[in-house]
Symmetry: C2
Subunit: 339 residues, 2 copies
């Protein structure tokens, strides 16, 4: 807990943002122009390589150690009937991750990425955010710290995701509190609630907004009051990645809402992040637009557990393979443009 | 040349379309519902697995032998100054594919796909489509036949692409002739022509539409008059894939325009095809919309050579890995929904 013993410690860290390495991305752009293809014809794949280089500070960038990190937490608001699944599923899915049976296990293996899962106090859910702060300051800061410390310093690319029954309710409440629009704008069907469940979810979010109206405005205090331990840990991991020059692929609605407070504190806080995908959970597309993040994939996925970010790792690998493996015009004896 | 000795032979083949295997896709859907995730939460990845099974007739489907096929051809219309690259680049890039130096080499390797490149009479470009039929009937049918015979019967998934300096001009002319809208709707910057080059390209397309106005209406005759050998071969390969129960990932604007004549002859002709991506070449998005194909990827790529389809193979692999590798709710001891 050395890093953050108070909100003001954490706020100071959020505002002290290391910058990237323009020389590394410039070297990537320079090499791209020599490769046997029309200029910029690999589109976002080329941008991905330059982005990796910019944050790693290497040209070419490396993808030797790609890490997928999943944080899991439980939520008191589950009692409001906001999810079709019981809270016990969070721990059951953590066991499934450990046994290799979840979607992200298959995706991480295909993408040659290491997968680590960190359950955070699953037996101690957050409090029901409709009638209390979900976390006290010390609980929130401890969860941020867990995420911060979970990031290996030698990692080349980090994909972050989450698991937590009812956490789309917490995410939607956080988005509504920080971006406005009420429950109607941000509540989606999550893992698949029916009409009545969706109505209960919206009611819970609106109740939370009323209960916490006195603290609207402070992003970190709101993250503690409305978020969850896994969301706090994701924010910590994204802060640590910035510190250690590690680019980040964000997953879906919950993972993105987890870092929204960072962006509200400092607009440049997510410059080292890319949206791995846009989820079918309706709020995600709006949230990405608010954050100025253009998703790499749009596949109607809405599973969480870093699955969308994990698939996006494959794009990063394709991008880097082209950048490092392709021949130059000179090497291949291919003529350039006539003009 | 046993298969097509006349347009009417080919037309008959285009209309005789094997159907898929609903039992196989139903078995996929049934297994998906048992896997440890909310129903349909892997979105288009789940649809991909069902689509593979539907056309292969196996559940689960297989991706043991994925083939990337690139056809290359040269175009008389190059003389009209429609590309910034000289025609010699087609053969130079074929050599680059053989030497392993192109983007698709890196992508195919990453996707564990076999890559085959088939140059078709590069020393004998098509005629200039502004003043003649690009190909005579026998030349066109021979190119279709090359594509048809190139498809290995034991292939599980085929990705088709092309290489041919000036072939976006041929593709745009074909789209304009079959779908209307003139050169303005379909001509894009291809490999990167400047303003003057774009004007020359549009002028060439409009001239071709006037010259060939007498044959507007017959898709195969138009494909011969306005297309190219590599486009004809792609059409042949897509027909062969349908015959051999092989699903197909289409690449960009040129590859998709190559199969447009098939869809104009028989609306169901492309049911075994998916659009691997949507290209940054402007006409491609419109063409996909006309064909009812929703692209899997949208990455501002515009390279051709099957690069977009090749990246989409990675999505198919991720989809199948989840489908076959994930635990069921029963196996993992995970609770289902409460309702």
């Amino acid at each position: 807990m050395a890093n953050f013993t108070s909100f003001s410690d954490l706020r100071a860290l959020c505002l002290d943002l290391p910058s990237g390495h323009p020389a590394a991305s410039a070297a990537v752009v320079q090499r791209e122009a020599t490769l046997t293809k029309p200029p910029r014809s690999l589109g976002r794949l080329e941008e991905l390589v330059a982005w990796l280089a910019y944050w790693q500070g290497h040209a070419p960038p490396r993808l030797d150690h790609v890490e997928v990190l999943i944080f899991a937490g439980n939520h008191g608001v589950t009692a409001r009937g906001v999810s079709p699944y019981p809270a016990a599923v969070t721990a059951q899915m953590v066991a499934n991750f450990s046994a290799g049976g979840a979607a992200i296990n298959q995706i991480a293996k295909l993408a040659s990425a290491d997968l680590r899962v960190m359950p955070i106090e699953l037996a101690r859910p957050t409090r029901d955010l409709t009638v209390a702060a979900a976390m006290e300051a010390d609980e929130f800061l401890a969860a941020v710290d867990i995420g911060y410390r979970a990031v290996p310093e030698d990692c080349d690319l980090l994909a972050v995701g989450e698991m937590g029954i009812a956490n789309t309710t917490a995410a939607a409440a956080l988005c509504a509190a920080l971006l406005g629009g009420g429950a109607g704008r941000w509540a989606g069907r999550g893992t698949g609630v029916d009409e009545e469940g969706l109505a209960r979810k919206q009611a819970a979010i609106d109740a939370a907004l009323v209960f916490h109206r006195g603290i609207l405005g402070d992003p970190l205090v709101l993250a503690a009051a409305l978020g969850g331990r896994e969301l706090a840990a994701i924010a910590g991991a994204v802060l640590a990645a910035r510190r250690h020059h590690i680019p980040v692929l964000l997953d879906g609605f919950v993972a993105t809402s987890a870092v929204l407070p960072l962006a509200r504190l400092a607009p440049a806080a997510l410059d080292h992040c890319r949206a791995g995908h846009v989820s079918a959970e309706g709020g995600h597309r709006q949230l990405l637009r608010e954050l100025g993040l253009k998703p790499l994939l749009d596949l109607d996925m809405r599973l969480g557990e870093a699955s969308g970010a994990g698939v996006a790792v494959l794009l990063a690998r394709a991008a880097l393979a082209c950048h490092t493996g392709m021949a130059t015009f000179a090497e291949a004896g291919v003529s350039g443009t006539e003009d």
